[in-house]
Every structure is written in structure tokens, then in C-alpha cells.
């Protein structure tokens, strides 16, 4: 037998589950999963790794769209395979019967339970929607394709 220096895979999953607090943390209201939301941003906005929280600045607006976006369906808890921890929302983000006339190309995932703190930004080819539906489908929830992975 030999010892191997490594980041423990269980830790990666537990980070996604909010188990560890290596710095100052928050008092949680319960043990349930937080509410994660998905907001759309204009192509002219600046959403990136430096984005710390949801903001209405640069967010799309238009008929049928509610500021803050839609709530992500979270039916599958973070898990791991091999040495990768991962999580993917368990359903598409659907913005039904909206008109978004100004082109947008980004969705921000954020935690509405924890002061709207940001999680990740995902970009795509710029779109507009006219009296229609915008659907963002998720990749497969596995160690190679999941939307959020800690490898």
C-alpha cells in the first residue's frame, strides 16, 4: 500500500452540498437544497467570473419575462463519479410566451436562497424571441458532461 496526495472526491461533492465551511459561513434556515434561479442577460451585458450576485443590470426585459428569471428544477443532488463531483439542473429552463426583442446570449445561475449569490454564467449564440418560447436544455448529468463539475 502507498499513500497518495489528493483532493478527496467526497469533499468536492460536499462542497456542492454546502457541508464544509473553511471560512465564515451563514446560518442556514434548514437542511433542504437552496433555490437556484436562472436569469437571462443581454449580449451587451458584462456577466463573467467576476459576477458575485444576480443583478437586474443588463438583464433582459420584455413581455412575459419576470425579472430574476425562472427557478431551476433541482431533483438530483450533487454526486460524483471517478474523481469528479458534478450537478446539473434536472429540467430545462423554459421561458414561455415571451418577447425579448434585444439580443441576449447569457444565462446566470444564482442562489436565491443565499442573497442571490452567483454560481455560474453560460453563454450561447445571441437570440431574440418574439411572442415565443425560449428553452435552455441541460447537458447529460454525468462526470463528463454535467453543467457544473469539480474535477
Amino acid at each position: 500500500m502507498a499513500n497518495t496526495q489528493a483532493m478527496c472526491t467526497s469533499f468536492k461533492t460536499e462542497v456542492l452540498n454546502g457541508i464544509h465551511a473553511l471560512g465564515t459561513t451563514v446560518i442556514r434556515a434548514g437542511t433542504g437544497a437552496d433555490t437556484i434561479k436562472a436569469a437571462l442577460y443581454l449580449a451587451s451585458a458584462t456577466v463573467n467570473a467576476a459576477t458575485t450576485a444576480y443583478s437586474a443590470t443588463g438583464e433582459v426585459s420584455g413581455t412575459g419575462y419576470t425579472a430574476g428569471g425562472v427557478t431551476a428544477t433541482n431533483a438530483t443532488a450533487p454526486t460524483s463519479s471517478g474523481t469528479t463531483a458534478y450537478w446539473t439542473p434536472s429540467a430545462s429552463f423554459t421561458y414561455t410566451t415571451v418577447t425579448l426583442a434585444t439580443s441576449f446570449d447569457c444565462v446566470l445561475l444564482y442562489n436565491s436562497t443565499q442573497a442571490n449569490k452567483s454560481i455560474s454564467a453560460h453563454t450561447f449564440g445571441a437570440q431574440t424571441i418574439t411572442a415565443g418560447t425560449f428553452v435552455l436544455s441541460m447537458p447529460a448529468n454525468d462526470a463528463s458532461n454535467a453543467l457544473i463539475r469539480i474535477a
Binding site: 483532493m7 453563454t123 436544455s137 454535467a146
Partner: protein, 62 residues
């Protein structure tokens, strides 16, 4: 088929339908547009994300 448009619900037989798609490393996207007399009256899009957010972590040595 009935389509929601900027002018209310309309039968698609009255409209000019246009479709398109993008398929690259980041996404597979399809969209459909309906036009009436030169005006865009409906546009829907479906983006299938491919590219995940991956954070690599490592441990330091002594």
C-alpha cells in the same frame, strides 16, 4: 397548427415559416420564425448547452 404571434393566435398556414440551427462545440440550437407580410410575428428558440463549467482543484505540497 395554431401559433402565438404578435397579432394573436394564427393558423400557421397563413404564415411564412423559416427555421435555422447552430451546432458547434458550445451548443446545439434550433429556432423557428413565422413571418406575415414581411413582419416577424413569432420567433422561438431552443438552446441545448454542451459546454459545462469545470473547476479543477488541487492540493498543495509542503
Amino acid at each position: 397548427m395554431i401559433v402565438s404571434t404578435t397579432r394573436g393566435e394564427m393558423d400557421d398556414s397563413l404564415l411564412d415559416k423559416r427555421e435555422g440551427s447552430i451546432d458547434d462545440a458550445n451548443e446545439n440550437t434550433t429556432w423557428v420564425e413565422y413571418w406575415l407580410a414581411g413582419d416577424l410575428v413569432h420567433r422561438s428558440a431552443h438552446v441545448r448547452l454542451k459546454k459545462a463549467m469545470v473547476s479543477s482543484v488541487d492540493v498543495g505540497g509542503f
